[in-house]
């Protein structure tokens, strides 16, 4: 049964290769992609439920025993995140045909899409630091393909910067892994955790930990390293932005969560306090960015940044409640960011512009879109009883218990800022008389764009309203994450 652990990587990988063979036949590739993502979704749900019931699956690839070979570990945290990834992927693949141009779809969109999913799942599931680097590269390669898809002037310009910053941080990642290898003599996460624990994380190991944090912080867009994100997330097509916004930064956050609860958890006073301050600045600067512009796409892209701040805050506070909050927020944010990017894609498609000043009165023409946008604004800002509220409540509770008052205040104010930046789009874009904007006579119909958004949004609302149903699972995962010896035992089987 341990082969189940690797299937969420293999399935999209194979699908990505197979769909490349008939890339010119759009109908066949659309049907094939939908079937493959549905299968993937069913598979990840099955893996999640099994892991919840009977504990982690560990696959030792090629039959090499744990510390020597590569291990793939489907534990409660990673199986939860692969499941969420599969949900986002399923919605994106239904939305894609309407949003992409014919030429974008023909030139291997679906292949890149599946390889991206394979890379993201791999990064969640792997139990080996060097393998994590390899899966980072797999998902980055796919994202390089997706970001230039369409060959626009701005796309080429921004993708250059995106590739350069990622290439540099990848090289830093490799260097850091080699440092870690020279000190602890292993790249297996469980064994590294064990050995770091034996020497109680002496000086040099903390330095390596901080280096590793900066690598992941670049991917996750944490405060001093977020400048690359906004423009590179706005230039590609809406589906691609949705995938990037929902998945890529979250892989960075997951990696921070994993390494700093499993391996580097002995100098909490130094490293995790640093996280709290960085989280604070991330929130402040993200919100300022979101309020600074009238480009609706850019507003949404800037809103990715404070969310990262919230999750980092939970990791920084480092109690069971706050980690539970971070995990809840992670799942919530993956879904709601996909919803928002897809929604804003539909809005710009309907309005024909992304300049907020030129929009107005859209709700008369597209009432469903307007109300969905309003609901998702409430969900994002964390108005009770929606899912953003539950995550933030746990985070704030954790913060107050540890008497980190400053971060709690900043978090509350930046939530208000997020709400304000989103409501600006709603007021400017949807309110007003019906004839403010000159829409073409033949109004573009949104059709297949709305209902994948609707499904994702209702799922997100369910996550908030049915919190009582989901909270026990999240809290047990947080309990598992805070006890790293469980992970070490399941991998090394001592």
């Amino acid at each position: 049964m341990s082969n189940l652990a690797v299937l969420p990587i293999i399935l999209p990988f194979l699908a990505g290769i197979l769909v490349a063979f008939f890339h010119k036949n759009l109908i066949a590739s659309r049907i094939f992609s939908i079937i493959a993502t549905m299968l993937h979704l069913a598979l990840t749900i099955f893996v999640f439920l099994n892991v919840q019931e009977s504990g982690s699956y560990v696959l030792e690839v090629g039959g090499w025993e744990a510390p020597f070979g590569i291990v793939i570990v489907a534990d409660p945290l990673s199986s939860l995140l692969t499941m969420t990834t599969a949900v986002v992927a399923a919605a994106a693949v239904i939305y894609a045909p309407k949003s992409l141009s014919r030429i974008q779809e023909e030139f291997y969109f679906y292949s890149f899409f599946f390889l991206l999913i394979a890379g993201v799942n791999g990064a969640f599931l792997t139990g080996d630091l060097f393998n994590l680097f390899v899966f980072f590269e797999v998902l980055l390669m796919a994202s390089y393909g997706l970001i230039v898809l369409g060959n626009g002037k701005a796309q080429l310009r921004e993708s250059l910067k995106y590739i350069l910053i990622n290439l540099f941080s990848s090289m830093l990642f490799v260097t850091t892994i080699s440092f870690l290898y020279s000190v602890v003599g292993t790249v297996n996460m469980a064994q590294a955790a064990e050995r770091v624990g034996e020497v109680e994380q002496q000086g040099v190991l903390t330095v390596i930990g901080i280096l590793l944090f900066f690598v992941f912080a670049t991917k996750a867009a944490v405060f001093p390293l977020y400048y690359w994100l906004p423009s590179s997330y706005t230039v590609p097509n809406a589906v691609v932005s949705a995938l990037f916004g929902a998945l890529l930064t979250k892989v960075g956050v997951y990696s921070i969560l994993r390494t700093f609860t499993l391996i580097f958890n002995y100098e909490v006073g130094l490293t995790h306090t640093l996280f709290i301050y960085l989280a604070m600045f991330t929130m402040i600067f993200g919100v300022i960015g979101a309020l600074s512009t009238n480009n609706v796409k850019l507003i949404i892209a800037y809103n990715v940044i404070p969310a990262v701040g919230f999750m980092l805050m939970g990791i920084g506070i480092f109690t069971e409640t706050s980690i539970a909050g971070s995990i809840y927020y992670l799942v919530h944010d993956m879904i709601i960011k996909a919803v928002l990017f897809l929604l804003i894609g539909a809005v710009t498609y309907a309005a024909g512009t992304s300049d907020l000043k030129k929009m107005g009165g859209l709700i008369h023409h597209y009432p469903v879109l307007g109300w969905m946008f309003f609901l998702s604004t409430l969900v994002l800002a964390g108005i009770p009883p929606f899912s953003g509220f539950i995550g933030k409540l746990l985070l704030l509770q954790g913060g107050l218990n540890q008497e980190e008052i400053l971060i709690v205040i900043v978090a509350l104010i930046s939530s208000l800022g997020i709400l304000f930046s989103m409501i600006r789009i709603f007021i400017g874009g949807f309110w007003g008389a019906a004839d403010i904007m000159e829409l073409p006579k033949q109004k573009p119909s949104l059709g297949a764009m709305t209902w994948p958004i609707g499904i994702l949004l209702s799922l997100s609302i369910l996550l908030g309203v049915g919190a009582e149903m989901f909270y026990p699972a999240v809290s047990s995962i947080a309990d598992y994450v805070m006890n790293p010896e469980l992970y070490i035992e399941s991998v090394l089987k001592e």
Partner: protein, 112 residues
């Protein structure tokens, strides 16, 4: 020997970063290549440069070289090779379409 290798890796990082900070696109690409070479040398050095037989079990051999850094470095070389070639094509295409290879002029504006 490790010290010499570390200094060499440091020099590669230094020249790489210097090139990364230039305005011309091609220099930046060369800078990334140099930085990745530095990273690869670091991996090789960090496993300690042991002298010994190939890591295959044979009778009478006591000293083995460490095979893991070699496996890691190979993977990393392949990846950086792929990324560099993609970057070269992209740099060519971007400078063609934007009519400049100067990063100062590739800033762009808000509404596009």
């Amino acid at each position: 020997m490790e010290i010499v290798m570390s200094v060499l890796a440091g020099l590669l990082f230094m020249t790489g970063v210097y090139n990364l900070l230039q305005k011309q696109l091609l220099r930046i690409v060369i800078g990334t290549a140099l930085v990745s070479h530095g990273a690869h040398l670091t991996i090789l050095t960090m496993g300690k440069l042991k002298e010994g037989a190939a890591p295959v079990l044979t009778d009478g051999v006591e000293n083995y070289t460490d095979p893991l850094p070699q496996a890691l470095i190979l993977t990393s070389i392949v990846i950086s090779f792929g990324v560099t070639s993609l970057l070269l094509v992209l740099a060519y295409r971007a400078s063609k379409i934007n009519h400049t290879d100067n990063m100062e002029k590739l800033r762009g504006n808000d509404y596009e």
